[in-house]
Amino acid sequence: MVNLSVTIGPLKLKNPVMTASGTFGYGEEYAEYIDLNRLGAIVVKGLSITPRDGNPTPRVVETPAGMLNAIGLQNIGVRSFIREKLPFLRQFDTPVIANFFGDTVDEYVRAAVELSSAEGVHALEMNISCPNKQEGWIVFGTNPTAMAEVVGEVRKATNLPLIVKLTPNVADIGCMAKVAQDAGADALSVINTITGMVIDIRKRKPVLANNTGGLSGPAIRPIAVRMVWETCKAVGIPVIGMGGIMNARDAMEFLIAGARSVAVGTANFVDPVAAIAVIDGIEAFLAEEGIPDINNIIGSLKLNGL
């Protein structure tokens, strides 16, 4: 038997495979297809203190080996989530990680406070790829000062493990990772989607109603693996790796690069049972390689020419 369990700070997971926020609904959507008990953790769709309608359609468009989405953070709001969705999730022996965001520091703090007192939320994941609407639309995640402030305030507001989800739309992700760590993050999620655009050349218009969207899927995997590796070099806290993981081989790239766990995103859309296949595949790979414990391979990357 191979040991698959890992720890993300105070959080103990039975295996390193989570679902990426926004690609797994509130969990219940997938309960028809897979046993939610098998997952390392469930990360739910991003929540805000008040519900959001999101963007007009089209909201998704396929790209070569990837997709762009501009859902616009549609969600039912923190309170409805706690009331309507959490009771279902509490049935499972799988930690629930609540992804959340806000338009202002205050909205972040309020969402964090409410989620922290809810029974069955085991950790918080902050999506900081949003603009601070109070401060001239500076994106929290691309500006070190804005990021330090919002992470610091949320840190003060919660005792739950705090995961900060970094945006890849930066020049130096290691530097942003350090800012998040210093501001009190217990772990980091790397990466969120990369901003992109697809144009309908006959209409001379962007395909997405929102004009731009976030690129995800296998297309971005080499970028994500590099960023996870850079982040792991820069900080000491655990990193959750994601971006284009379609199968166990892909997941192993992230773990070897140093990620303590991984999240399966777009792959859930392509194949509703993908996350389970990733878990089974990781176990099979370790058995085949004669590695008794997943922790032995995490961060095992040997660089060439050194």
Binding site: T23, G25, E29, D53, G54, M67, I71, P218, F269, D271
Partner: protein
Amino acid sequence: MPRVFTAEIAGNAFLPEKDPVSAEMLSQNAQFKLLTLKPLSEITAPEPGQFYMIQAGTANDPLLKRPFSVYGLQHDCLGFLYRIRGKGTLSLSQLREGDTLQVVGPLGNSYPVPSGDFIAVAGGIGIASLLPFMNKYKKRAYLFYGAMKRDELVMLEEARELSKEAFFTTDDGSYGQKDLITDALRSFLSASQIAHQALRIYACGPAPMLKALSVITNAGGIVCYASLEEHMACGIGACLGCMVKVKIQKPEDRDKNKEWEYKRVCKEGPIFSLEDIKW
């Protein structure tokens, strides 16, 4: 219960024998295709109007599955009628007997049971989702089926066969009336002696057709069930990509000064009451 299953491409079980023109259209390397899938594990039987997400590529491009309404179920095989639009459908059309692909379904809701005769309005490939419904309720449909030209009226004889009465239009007049299908319907409704207020309409076709139809049905107070299309990433309600604006009917919700809310075409649909749609 929807399932995730592997299916094998099987010999075509759905070729319309009674319609040599359509059979030829479909067998030639043309824009319309019939896909026959033999599931390799047990499946749930679909209802007319439901759809499946079908793998369209072998590697990562095309990446996402594509949604297709179920066209038929015969000898344990699922049938799909589709039109080549872009890279996913092109790639599907290049597969051969014996190739396998992953399928998820049946998904979404289905057409409500008709109470007596009904009207079916099909625009182009929209016929794919209506035919199994008309097949279930044979000879009860007044069919209105429109397309750009003769070549795009696929399964024409099949459609006529299953209808009580069938009306065809083409934009260029190459078959049937030279008219929009919604105009043909309007004439029928105003001229006909049938108590058409009692007739429900079942519709599937492009958004402009459904919009035109909603003008007619709203004005006439006719109940219309329409199958909608939106870009889909997951088809199972998780991505929130496929939203449609639906009017809020419950007074307690209307309080909030919100006239509409987003519903998922893949989960709460694809079939909606046309009067509920906020265009």
